[in-house]
Subunit: 273 residues, 3 copies
């Protein structure tokens, strides 16, 4: 199934509007190009609404939100909802500050998201309305491991049901659920947590996958999570003793550029619960 999903991305070349942070925006653009999609960035409120109209999907990432970009997120999100375009939310740092938490909650209240992707601390913040996020990384106490996976799956499933949204919680094990089935994904490599923006790239990628597979948001989001992790594995194998996080970042995007639908189907490492 993931083979067909990825073929749709490569074949349809979805145009994805990104309202995203300025830290990792270049990597998000190159990741979208690597998977066969096209990126366009616009965060002026007036411009963002019109640009969203041209695109097939939208990703909203609050990593460096400010008073100018928040209205752009809301306005573009509403326009995308009107048009039936899938919208992906990356609630970067929700729980770390009131502005981030409140903005994320307001976005969820006013917009309909196809997928929300974040680390466990961010997702817990969205569920509870407050959190203990330590910066932009998951709180150690929260991290999803094999030991607490059952609880995390139940939590994600419950949130997905309540919000009517696919929830993707990423970490050592990733969980993607629409409230029914839950994909538990074990692709990836530890180096990914030492590279800025692998989460942001995954959110952009998810928007591309969901946009090219409108009838299958759950499977498309799970395929994007597997694809990103698989590229991390490919990048890790390519690393020499001189390579560090900067080269690994490039290798992950390179791996996506080279990934084929068949290789994704074969390399995807997940179980459905």
């Amino acid at each position: 199934m993931f083979e067909q999903i990825f073929e749709n991305v490569r074949g349809k070349s979805p145009l994805v509007h990104c309202i995203t942070n300025y830290v990792t925006v270049n990597d998000c653009a190159n990741m979208l190009l690597a998977c066969g999609a096209s990126p366009i960035m616009a965060d002026d409120p007036e411009d963002a609404v019109e640009i969203t109209g041209l695109c097939g999907g939208l990703v909203i990432n609050i990593g460096t939100l400010n008073q100018r970009t928040i209205p752009a997120m809301l306005a573009a999100g509403k326009r995308a909802n009107e048009l039936g375009h899938p919208v992906v939310l990356d609630p970067v740092g929700a729980g770390a500050s009131a502005l981030r938490t409140d903005t994320a909650l307001r976005l969820i209240e006013e917009l309909k998201f196809a997928v929300i992707r974040g680390n466990i601390s961010e997702i817990k913040t969205l569920s509870c309305g407050s959190g203990t996020t330590k910066g932009v990384d998951a709180d150690v106490a929260d991290r999803v491991t094999e030991d607490n996976l059952d609880g995390a799956v139940s939590f994600a499933r419950e949130l997905a049901r309540r919000t009517g949204t696919v929830i993707a919680v990423t970490g050592a094990v990733d969980i993607v659920t629409d409230g029914g089935r839950a994909f538990c994904v074990r692709n990836g490599c530890p180096e990914m947590s030492s590279i800025t923006g692998t989460g942001c790239q995954l959110s952009a990628l998810t928007a591309a996958f969901v946009t090219a597979n409108l009838d299958h948001p759950l499977e498309a989001a799970a395929a994007a999570v597997c694809a990103m992790g698989l590229c991390g594995e490919t990048a890790r194998r390519r690393m020499t003793e001189a390579d560090g996080n900067a080269s690994c970042r490039n290798y992950i995007i390179d791996a996506m550029y080279r990934l084929t639908p068949a290789k994704l189907e074969k390399g995807a490492d997940y179980e459905v619960r």
Copy 2:
């Protein structure tokens, strides 16, 4: 002739003020350094005017324009015009939204540009006052190929005459004309369209080349287009089976760092019509 033009860039190290988008700004800065120029970025209106005064040239790129940066573009452009500094416009996404189209048209009306560089859809938008740009890439229907090259050259030449500006239309074949001679450039590689910001980098590079060769804007712009394409070819030859668009991006900048005036002279692939 291109040898001397590039020697002037390396020898004079022009300081280029960039008011550019936050997606590809880092690559633009490294590309300017790679060719021997120096970049400085300033987009606060107050700051931009003064910084332009220090520099030799200015590039205005509307890729992520907003209500704060538009006044900076206009004010810095006017100051650069007063000082006789060459100004290059990259009308990213003109035709894709009213804000982009209107801003590009207003910039052309209020400022004197040495060079305008864009894809064919963007340039057509500037010519007609409206367009069909699909995001930030050229519309398929518009693309310049060997089959429609004659018509594209005539179109670019007419626009160059009407605006008194060197027009650089980049695509599979690039056209650079001042309304008289037209350089048709065949350097480049297909991977460049899968890398975010190769167009933005070329616009910044063009500003450096024109700034270091004030008496020859047409030849300087054509040399920049050839140099960028030649670096794309070098990068492509360097790519292994594991490399994708991220590594190719680095290799293009690396190739510019290593490019010599003699190699540019020898590798430039163009005809003059």
Copy 3:
């Protein structure tokens, strides 16, 4: 001593808040991750104050300052001062425009900095209240060489005494002083001046080192300067004939990812005056 300092960075993983320019922000984030620290970027005034409270240290870089980010710098800096967090200033382009010079001077007047790191032209501007900075690079007339090192050390020492701040002047020879001892550092490679943001990365790195070594700001800043230069040397040795500034940029960050406390201790090339 530098071994222990770097072990503290790796062991404590300080969370560093960066209010920095959008040109080099991605490299700053990856450099912080490479050294074992964690970055978080927030430049909305409301958000910045709260995010600073979560972090251990703050770096303020004025490379692309604007009317929205200046209040964020002041507000976050005051909060960091209240909390006793070290704050590092990178006065990018001070002397190049009134907005940059005035902002840098105002920041120094209103905030208490642990370290100020810049090139000699920027630091002279802070000392005199005006300058001759040519863009973002040091003015040739100002550059620190072996010939004028004594004078530069005296100048830096005097400024450090007057401001009660560790002053780090970086160039061919780097000087780090608290007004008493002065570390003269000879690590580094010439390619670093052809890469955008090596100075910005060093400022972020310095914030991480000082945050993890609160009782030794002078030694921590000197260790960061040595570590950055040492990584430049490693990167240079790794360069092939095809590599240029883009790959060198990646290799420097990679080298930091691989650098060990013992290798830093052994490779640091400095004298104390």
